[in-house]
């Protein structure tokens, strides 16, 4: 009698376990199926960007910061994490190859990238076909998140900060003679265009709209042309290195004291270091909260591991760190352990969950994705260089 009860119990238990298992596995029937990580294998997050070549500073810095971040993660159900950092030379051509390599990898769960806008645009259709979510720390081009479900980013979209910056210049600073300058690349031009358009809609026609050629380092010709229009402020869309040269060369064309207003790609201590006294009075944009304990801890670790100050190579190190943390959180929530000991991550759910990520607290502020995948919820803060340090501008 007792034996039979025991037997019945056993059968019940077994069926319940099996049905639970079966219910779990049905999650893999949706589009894209599941990412499967076998025991001994690692949970892979991809990062593709220019690790060598002309734009190597961005890709290399982001992959370094991501490595720091992924090494901090605790194993999920006994599965280790791994970052696949692949070089694209910054070209869409190589990025497409890399993307096609990754979609054949069953254990690749998410992509922390791509780094540049052009390459991101080229790989979005591929990842959309394979239902792999992307979360970029640096691709800011204007229309990337439109009409696709997979691409998200933690940096500002160009539109938001450009609009705020133009309004800040006109309303807070009360300046009307504005020159707009950019570096001719997708990021800088995207922001500069928004600034120009917002200025015009506010009734302020920019006195000059010009672009420089990054890679050269003598911009006095274009600055002379701007100087002849005698602007009160120059908005610059682009990155730190060129910005510092622009700030340094302003005095050579008789524009000493004219402040430069720049975007978050150029924000950081590096600018002050390179431009020195010429940086005084210049404005910058950033969404990174000043010095939370987590950020200080990361900065220390960054310097310890890489031997340079965070932000000295590019302004994306903090975003890169947060991207990995956010992705790993989403993966931990989505993944489940199969009966066969494999870890399964349903791909379609993963795409949804990244898009619906909300309230994640990172060192760059709160990460909450809206319906089109713009995940930087904290608004831009404008800073001004005073006595050799960035101070919040009012």
């Amino acid at each position: 009698m007792k034996k039979s009860i025991f037997f019945v119990l056993c059968v019940l238990l077994l069926t319940s376990v099996l049905t639970v298992g079966a219910a779990d596995m049905s999650r893999c029937d949706a589009d894209g199926g599941c990412a499967v990580i076998e025991p001994g294998n690692t949970i892979k997050i991809g990062m593709a960007g220019p690790i060598t070549g002309e734009y190597a500073m961005y890709g290399a810095d982001i992959s370094d910061a991501m490595k720091i971040s992924i090494d901090e993660l605790a194993p999920l159900d006994g599965f280790e994490w791994e970052l696949l950092a692949e070089d694209t030379l910054g070209s869409a051509e190589a990025a497409v190859s890399v993307a096609n390599k990754w979609i054949t990898d069953e254990s690749l769960v998410a992509v922390a990238g791509n780094v540049l806008t052009g390459e991101s645009a080229a790989v979005i259709p591929i990842f959309e076909g394979a239902s792999i979510p992307m979360l970029s720390p640096s691709a800011t081009g204007a229309n990337l998140t439109e009409d696709n479900a997979v691409f998200n980013r933690v940096v500002f979209q160009d539109a938001a900060q450009g609009k705020f910056a133009a309004e800040f210049i006109v309303n807070q600073l009360g300046l009307t003679k504005v020159a707009v300058l950019h570096d001719g690349l997708d990021y800088g031009k995207g922001i500069a265009d928004v600034v120009r358009d917002t200025l015009i809609s506010l009734g302020v026609e920019p006195v000059a709209y010009e672009a420089l050629t990054p890679g050269e380092a003598d911009y006095t010709a274009v600055l002379t042309a701007i100087a002849s229009k005698s602007p009160e402020i120059i908005y610059y869309g682009g990155y730190t290195a060129e910005l510092s040269v622009v700030a340094n060369q302003l005095s050579q064309v008789g524009m000493a004291g004219v402040p430069v207003f720049s975007d978050d790609g150029a924000f950081g201590s590096e600018f002050i270091e390179k431009a020195g006294a010429n940086a005084e009075g210049c404005y910058g944009t950033s969404s990174i909260p000043a010095d939370s304990p987590e950020k200080i801890a990361f900065d220390q670790k960054y310097e310890e591991v890489l031997g340079r100050v965070a932000g000295s190579k590019s302004s994306f190190a903090w975003f890169a760190y947060d991207v990995i943390k956010a992705l790993s959180t989403v993966i931990s929530e989505t993944a489940f352990l199969g009966d066969d000991g494999n870890l399964y991550v349903p791909r379609a759910e993963m795409v949804n969950n990244v898009r619906n990520l909300s309230g994640f607290q990172g060192i760059t502020g709160e990460i909450t994705c809206n319906e089109v995948g713009e995940c930087n919820a904290s608004g831009p803060t404008f800073y001004i260089v005073t006595d050799g340090a960035w101070v919040v501008a009012n």
Partner: protein, 368 residues
């Protein structure tokens, strides 16, 4: 049958020659008219005050001086080997790095109450030039030995060019991994602080003639004159000219081709290194990619002046630099399009004079 073919082709040939001449006339006259129109427009309705024109010219001269120096390196090598030395810009990059490290080291070296760099600025600059040119000379020398010499007698004229492309990729990526991709800034001695200089003020506007700019322009002119004298007067210069005119005959006259080629690479490396250090001192900002754009521009300048011709390279570099900075203002278009103007000028010049500004028409070519 043969006769008809002959009679058929001959007139076409003539027509074509005439058509090309027509094309030249049309292009030449319309360009001239357009320039005249712009000049009149500039006089009637000036968009920029005179001081700004001075500013554009200043920038153009400084950039042009550097282009000239690099272009001479291209032209020398082309004259001796008929090779476009694609890695020339990367040799310049190595010189730029060598100068940077010299300055950093001298800045670290204490001397008296401050650093050696600021106590002995002239000596420091000299050291930087010695290091920069030295490194560039060595790398040029070994580049020739390893990558070009085995190919000198190859029948495929493009083989050395592809070898040069490989060397360029190699040098660029090596420098990136060795020194990092971060853009670095030259630490100048206070004597030559960037941005300081002589103010020129005129009706409202003001520009600064920078010390670094004057220094690099002077350096460039001195080096060019020295090089010209060197090529004209010394024995090595004569052998370089002889080789670039006729390799075979030069060898028959007892000139050691290997040695002359090596020495040519040393000279072109010297010029590239000097321009690398000048680039660093004047512009400050650089990384492993610094040689690429100036390299292409200088190559363009060398062709503009007539490749293989040293005065041509000098003038070509200057013209290119000035056109780049004055051109957009003169034509009233965006500065983003300055390279379009530079290349358009190149195409125009080559249509009007197919062998460059100073090149002799093909046939009896006197190079260098």
């Amino acid at each position: 049958m043969m006769n008809t073919v002959k009679n058929g082709t001959r007139p076409i040939q003539k027509n074509q020659v005439r058509r090309i001449n027509w094309l030249r006339w049309i292009v030449g006259i319309s360009t001239g008219l357009f320039l005249l129109y712009r000049i009149i427009l500039m006089v009637i309705r000036p968009t920029y005050g005179p001081v700004y024109w001075l500013g554009f010219l200043n920038t153009g001269l400084i950039v042009g001086g550097m282009y000239s120096l690099i272009a001479i390196g291209y032209t020398l090598v082309y004259g001796v080997m008929s090779l476009i030395n694609f890695a020339h810009g990367d040799i310049m990059m190595l010189g730029c790095f060598a100068g940077f490290f010299t300055f950093e080291f001298l800045n670290y070296l204490p001397s008296g109450d401050s650093s050696f760099l600021n106590n002995h600025p002239i000596l420091s600059i000299l050291f930087a030039f010695i290091m920069g040119t030295g490194v560039s000379m060595l790398s040029g020398y070994f580049l020739e030995k390893l990558a070009y010499r085995p190919l000198r007698n190859s029948k495929i004229r493009l083989a050395p060019l592809i070898s040069a492309v490989g060397a360029s990729i190699f040098l660029e990526t090596s420098a990136q991994i060795l020194f990092g991709a971060t853009k670095k800034t030259y630490k100048n001695p206070d004597l030559l602080a960037r941005g300081s200089g002589w103010n020129i003020q005129m009706d409202g506007g003001m520009i600064v003639i920078t010390k670094t700019g004057v220094f690099s322009l002077l350096m460039a002119i001195i080096l060019m004159i020295a090089l010209y004298l060197f090529v004209q007067k010394t024995k090595l210069g004569k052998s370089i000219r002889a080789v670039s005119q006729d390799k075979m005959t030069a060898q028959l006259m007892g000139i050691n081709l290997d040695r002359v080629t090596s020495q040519t690479f040393l000279i072109s490396g010297f010029l590239a290194g000097a321009s690398g250090v000048m680039w660093g001192i004047h512009n400050g900002l650089f990384n492993h990619y610094v040689g690429f754009l100036p390299g292409i521009k200088a190559f363009t300048a060398a062709v503009l002046g007539g490749i293989g011709n040293i005065p041509g390279a000098m003038v070509g570099g200057m013209v290119l630099g000035i056109v780049e900075s004055v051109g957009p203002a003169f034509l009233g278009i965006d500065f983003q399009l300055k390279d379009v103007i530079a290349f358009a000028i190149l195409i125009l010049v080559l249509i009007l004079k197919p062998s460059g500004l100073f090149g002799k028409s093909s046939g009896s070519v006197e190079k260098v």
